[in-house]
Symmetry: C2
Subunit: 387 residues, 2 copies
Amino acid sequence: MRQVLIAGIGSTPFGRHSEIAIQSLAIRAADAAIRESGIDRKQVGALYLGNFVSGPLTGQEVLAGLVADGLGLGQIPCTKVEGACASGGIAFRHAYLAVASGMCDAALAVGVEKMTHADTATTTAALNCAMDNRSDGISGLTFPGLFGLAWQIHAERYGTSRDQVSAVVSKNKANGLLNPLAQMGANVGADQILQSPLICDPLRLYDCCPTSDGAAALLLVAADKRAELASSPVAVMASAQTRGSARIAGHPDLCTFDATVMAAQAAYAQAGISAKDVDFVELHDCFSIAEIIDTEDLGIVPRGHGGGYALEGRTRVGGDIPVNPSGGLLSKGHPVGATGLGQIYESVLQLRGQHPNQVRDAAIGLTHNLGGTGVACTVNILKRIDA
Amino acid sequence: MRQVLIAGIGSTPFGRHSEIAIQSLAIRAADAAIRESGIDRKQVGALYLGNFVSGPLTGQEVLAGLVADGLGLGQIPCTKVEGACASGGIAFRHAYLAVASGMCDAALAVGVEKMTHADTATTTAALNCAMDNRSDGISGLTFPGLFGLAWQIHAERYGTSRDQVSAVVSKNKANGLLNPLAQMGANVGADQILQSPLICDPLRLYDCCPTSDGAAALLLVAADKRAELASSPVAVMASAQTRGSARIAGHPDLCTFDATVMAAQAAYAQAGISAKDVDFVELHDCFSIAEIIDTEDLGIVPRGHGGGYALEGRTRVGGDIPVNPSGGLLSKGHPVGATGLGQIYESVLQLRGQHPNQVRDAAIGLTHNLGGTGVACTVNILKRIDA
């Protein structure tokens, strides 16, 4: 496998984009990534597009081909990939594999979702496409329901408190205030979070990521193209993808997602590093409690200490291991198919030293994207290239 | 790239499967493919699932993970791929690449669709997700409309007649009678076709493939596993994927799909053969006129002679170049995500000498899967392995 560089990045703000069609949103991000790289678009040999529910919510599929058309790419293989909320991470991994395997010298990963135009019932039904609807779906469970359960078990086993979980919310909302792409950064304290409406006990409104529109894109190239690049590249050390059970009953323990644990182990092995070598993490905080579970599953925080680390400020920028300096899903937003690529976009800015919420001396970053009830997961490890 | 073998095949009948959930249909086909191969399912290192509209029509996504779960596979990367009606072919190509690149030694390609439970308006809206809805969709055009236009142009330019097109229908319907997996084989003559209801001038009911449920699966392995196989393998000589315009206005000529022409050229080059070396073809006859255009685009019939070849019986089993001995989409059915893999399933049977409508001395077969308005295309070339 060849070494792969991220040569260009692009992203729309996450939030509401009522005025623009889903493919145009993706084209906007992808065009920026190509232009920034300095690579001639005719060199792009494959396109992977991460998207989850464009069919039910916009009535538009074949997005990979539509986006390539709009970008003026060649008659290259264009593929939409889907793995629920991990669709973006899966798109990145396939663009990475296309270059690493020598299939082509440049590949584009694009992620997009458009959700804010739909009413809540329609959106909830679409998001529930990520469940096994014959088991969990039929029970009436939704994703807030799943993570509410996970929180209750985590609290009982490890004593995780409302204040600890609120510290995650406060941190990510504050981080979002610094990120011009974020949908809803805010200064919110524990009291304000506690007073927000109950969604699914113990989850309150501020514990849940918003519904979002948005797109993000990365252009990946073989390392031997480095001299041609117009922008400062970042190296891909590892890209891992796993699956876990699609049914909640298939998870013997809701305080952990085995797909995350295995993807992290695979990625650390591929990169030849351990969790302690990572300087910052962008992870899948679809709900506040998810960040606590994810930090433990990724091995960056000891098992059962995710809440404690958050409350002690150890996951803030400036702390032991900054988590979601972008604001994360809670604050930056969660346009599903774009999320995994948005995390990598943020990480590239960190590793270039250009992030609006910069982690000092960031040299190695990790991104984590989780789909459904842990049915699909990707973990990527990225590295600064020192001149 | 390593040599890749098709080690096991599985398929449900195509038709109506009201009693079974979409994931169960896929699991049935995939389990058969694994069992037939003799490969331990723990060796399967990747799963690609082709599907087009499970979101809008069944409310179920994450099918790749669900199917792996049901099959008892490991915690491997599982990815749904979508490229409209070419989704199955795209799944095959990615399973092929996973093995050819050395990423894993065995990979599963599964395709599935469930459509017959939905009413016609819902199904038409779902299928129109394959169009660029801001240009063609908004005009009110549907896929019968597109192929009706293509026929009118083909007829005007090359003199293609109703009788010539009817010869395609009669052949494929008759071939389907011999195929136990086919949804609607029949003995139909030119008069009967002419008397069937007009769908979109000049297309009549018999010119259109049916709506179908079904699944098909292939297990691919590295060539060095040959000694472990329980069934007779077939070699993959080439697997190509291209894109064309998503908008009808992007096609300067509706008598040809450039995605097909380029995929065929790429596949012939990869296999080191030319069109005349192919012994039979399974191609994308979503409408009768499509078979005529496809035979010309693939180079197996001279440009403008597709209709003549059909009427003269040269594309029948026993003719110069048998086309769709399985019955094709017109007669076997078109469960969208499964179609491309079903074509390969049929071709493997031919190359093993086990097809119910056997092409004598079949040594090289070609499959062709086309999505949307030619927005995505795959062409595969398969070869008998002589003992």
